[in-house]
C-alpha cells in the first residue's frame, strides 16, 4: 500500500534538508573531524545543570502556566532590558517556548494566512523556509553576499519585495555566515519595515556571540517594538541546546496569539529547563563570556587559516561559523565537501544546504577544540593543494 498518498501536500513537497543528506554520509564515517555541528562544544555550565538537578529534587515536575514560569519571564525581561535595550512586561509580553525553534513556528502559525509572503535573508538557518511553508505562507528569499560580509542590505530587500509581503524574518548574527548588520544598517532595515508595513521576526539567538562592534536589536529602535517579535533562547550563548528552551517577546496582542497556538500544541516548556534557564540568566554571565572569548580566539585562527589556504573567508562578526568561499577549487560546494570528507575525513557543510546563495561556500563550525581546528585546517590545506595541483 502506498501510504504516501495520505501525507499532506505541503509536507510531502518539503525538500529533504541538505544537512540531513550530508549527515547520513558523515555518520557512516568513523573518526572524522566534524566541523559540521551547529552547537557549542562546551557542556552546559555546571551551576546551570545543578539548578536543573535541584529542581527535580524539589519536586518541580509539574506543568507551568502556558506562558511559562513568571520568575523566568521576569528574569528574561530584566536580561533583555539590560542587554538589548527593550523593555517588555513579564505578565503579557513574553512567552517561554521549546527552543527558538518552537517560538519561530508559533510566530509563523499565529501570523501567516495561506498565501501570505514572508521575506527572509539567505543563506540562512535551514528551518526558515520550511517553517513558512508549513504555515502555508510563501517564502521570499532575499540574497546576501560575501562582499558585504553577508550583511542584509536595504537594496536587496527592495529588489525582493513585492506586494503581499507581510513579514520580515531576520537572523543577526546569521547562521551559517556569521554576518550581521551594524546599527546604521539595522536602522535602514527598520525604516524599510515601517515603509512597507512589515512585521519583523527577529531571531537573535547568536547575539551574545558578537565579536566585533555591539549587537543592536531591531526591537530597540524607535517605533519598532510594536512591530517586532523578538526571539531568543539559551541554546547557543549558554550551551543549552539539549534543554530545548527559548522565548519570544513582543506586543501583548501577538504574544497572546502565539500563546493560543502554544497552549493547544505544546502546553508549556519543560519546567526543569525553565528552572535551569533562570539560573543561566541570573548567574550565567561569567561562564557565557568565558565561552565567548574562546570562540573569538578560535574564530581568528580558523578564518586566518582559510585565507592562508586560499579559500577566501570574510570575518564572521558573530556566531560560531566560518563561511569560506571554496569556488577557487573549481568545484561546487557539495563535491568539495564530499571530496574533503572522503580524502581527509573532515566534515564541513555545503553552503547550498542553507539556500541558493550559499552556493560556492561551505560552513565550518569552530565550536571545537584547538587541536581539532589545527588538524582540520591542515587537512583542508592538503586537500586544496592536491586539487590545485591536479588542475
Amino acid at each position: 500500500m502506498d501510504q504516501s498518498r495520505f501525507i499532506a501536500k505541503h509536507v510531502i513537497n518539503l525538500p529533504k534538508s541538505g544537512i540531513r543528506d550530508f549527515f547520513d554520509i558523515v555518520a557512516k564515517m568513523k573518526d572524522a573531524i566534524s566541523l559540521g555541528v551547529g552547537e557549542p562544544d562546551f557542556d552546559t555550565p555546571w551551576h546551570i545543570r545543578e539548578a536543573g538537578i535541584y529542581a527535580i529534587e524539589k519536586g518541580k515536575t509539574h506543568y507551568t502556566s502556558n506562558l511559562g514560569l513568571i520568575e523566568l519571564r521576569r528574569a528574561i525581561c530584566d536580561y533583555v532590558g539590560k542587554n538589548f535595550n527593550v523593555s517588555y512586561a513579564p505578565e503579557n509580553e513574553v512567552i517561554i517556548t521549546v527552543g527558538v525553534s518552537e517560538a519561530l513556528d508559533l510566530a509563523c502559525r499565529a501570523l501567516i494566512n495561506p498565501g501570505d509572503q514572508v521575506m527572509y535573508h539567505q543563506p540562512c538557518y535551514v528551518s526558515y523556509s520550511p517553517s513558512i511553508t508549513l504555515a502555508h505562507g510563501v517564502a521570499v528569499p532575499v540574497p546576501t553576499f560575501a562582499k558585504d560580509g553577508f550583511a542584509l542590505t536595504v537594496d536587496a530587500l527592495r529588489a525582493a519585495w513585492q506586494p503581499g509581503c507581510k513579514i520580515l524574518m531576520l537572523n543577526l548574527p546569521t547562521n551559517p555566515t556569521g554576518g550581521t548588520c551594524d546599527r546604521a544598517q539595522i536602522e535602514a532595515i527598520a525604516k524599510f519595515a515601517v515603509e512597507k508595513d512589515l512585521i519583523v521576526l527577529s531571531d537573535e539567538i547568536y547575539s551574545e556571540l558578537t565579536f566585533e562592534g555591539v549587537h543592536t536589536s531591531i526591537a530597540s529602535l524607535p517605533g519598532m517594538k510594536e512591530r517586532t517579535i523578538f526571539l531568543h533562547g539559551f541554546s547557543k550563548a549558554f550551551s543549552m541546546t539539549g534543554w530545548r528552551i527559548g522565548y519570544a517577546c513582543g506586543p501583548a496582542t501577538l504574544i497572546e496569539a502565539m500563546m493560543k497556538v502554544h497552549q493547544y500544541s505544546m502546553l508549556c516548556a519543560s519546567i526543569i529547563a525553565q528552572e535551569a534557564a533562570i539560573e543561566a540568566l541570573v548567574r550565567g554571565e561569567d561562564a557565557m563570556k568565558k565561552m565567548r572569548d574562546q570562540y573569538h580566539r578560535r574564530r581568528d585562527f580558523i578564518v586566518r587559516r582559510f585565507n592562508e589556504i586560499g579559500l577566501k573567508c570574510h570575518l564572521p562578526r558573530g556566531s560560531f561559523y566560518a563561511f569560506p568561499d571554496i569556488s577557487k577549487t573549481g568545484m561546487n560546494e557539495k563535491d568539495f565537501a564530499i571530496g574533503l570528507l572522503q580524502a581527509e575525513k573532515v566534515a564541513i557543510v555545503p553552503g547550498s544546504a542553507f539556500g541558493e546563495n550559499g552556493k560556492g561556500f561551505c560552513r565550518a563550525c569552530f565550536a571545537t577544540s584547538y587541536e581539532q581546528l589545527i588538524e582540520a585546517s591542515n587537512r583542508i590545506e592538503r586537500h586544496v593543494q592536491a586539487i590545485v595541483a591536479k588542475k
Binding site: 544537512i19 555541528v37 562544544d41 572569548d293 584547538y370 585546517s377
Partner: protein, 160 residues
C-alpha cells in the same frame, strides 16, 4: 593579558608548534615569548596534573594551619618565605581568619610528614601553633575532575 598567557590558561595541552599556529607566530617566536615570561618571573613552570592511584603516587599530603608571630617591618613575610623554602612545602598562603598561614605539604609517608611538622615547622622561632590535617582523597586538582573516567559527551556529527 597577553594572548599567549590566555592560551596557556585555557588549560589545553597544546605543544609549541600548535600554539604557534593558533597565535599566528613562528614556533621560534612562541619559544621566545615563553622564555621572556620565564625570565620575567611570570611563567614559573608547567606541571602535569596526574590522576595516579594512591599506591603509585606514593605521597601523603597534608594541609597545615600555622599561627605565627608577625614581625615589626616585615609582617608575616620573612617567616612565610622561610617556611616556603622547605621541599616538603608545595604551597603556602597567608590567610585571614583564625590562623595565619595555610601550608600544603607532601611527604613520602605519614611519618615523614609528621616528622616535618614536629621537627621543622613547629620548632621555628615565631611559629606559635600548628594544626595538621591529612588529605584522604582528592576529587579535583587544578580544575580537573579525578572521579573516574570523564565520559565524552556525544554531539551529532552534523547539525543545522
Amino acid at each position: 593579558m597577553k594572548p599567549i598567557i590566555k592560551l596557556l590558561l585555557e588549560g589545553g595541552s597544546l605543544n609549541t608548534a600548535q600554539m604557534a599556529q593558533v597565535l599566528n607566530l613562528s614556533e621560534a617566536e612562541v619559544n621566545c615569548q615563553l622564555d621572556t615570561l620565564k625570565k620575567d618571573g611570570v611563567l614559573l613552570g608547567l606541571r602535569p596534573v596526574l590522576n595516579l592511584a594512591d599506591e603509585d603516587s606514593g605521597v601523603v599530603r597534608a594541609v597545615i594551619e600555622v599561627r605565627i608571630t608577625p614581625e615589626r617591618g616585615g609582617g608575616f613575610n620573612r617567616l612565610a618565605e622561610r617556611i616556603s623554602k622547605f621541599d616538603e612545602v608545595e604551597s603556602c598562603y597567608l590567610m585571614s581568619g583564625g590562623y595565619d598561614l595555610l601550608v600544603f605539604v607532601n611527604g613520602a609517608s605519614l611519618q615523614k610528614v609528621a616528622a616535618f611538622v614536629s621537627e621543622k615547622l613547629s620548632t621555628i622561632e615565631g611559629v606559635l601553633s600548628t594544626a595538621t590535617h591529612f588529605m584522604l582523597r582528592s576529587y579535583k586538582e587544578h580544575g580537573f575532575l579525578l572521579g573516574g573516567k570523564v565520559e565524552e559527551t556525544e554531539r551529532l556529527k552534523v547539525a543545522p
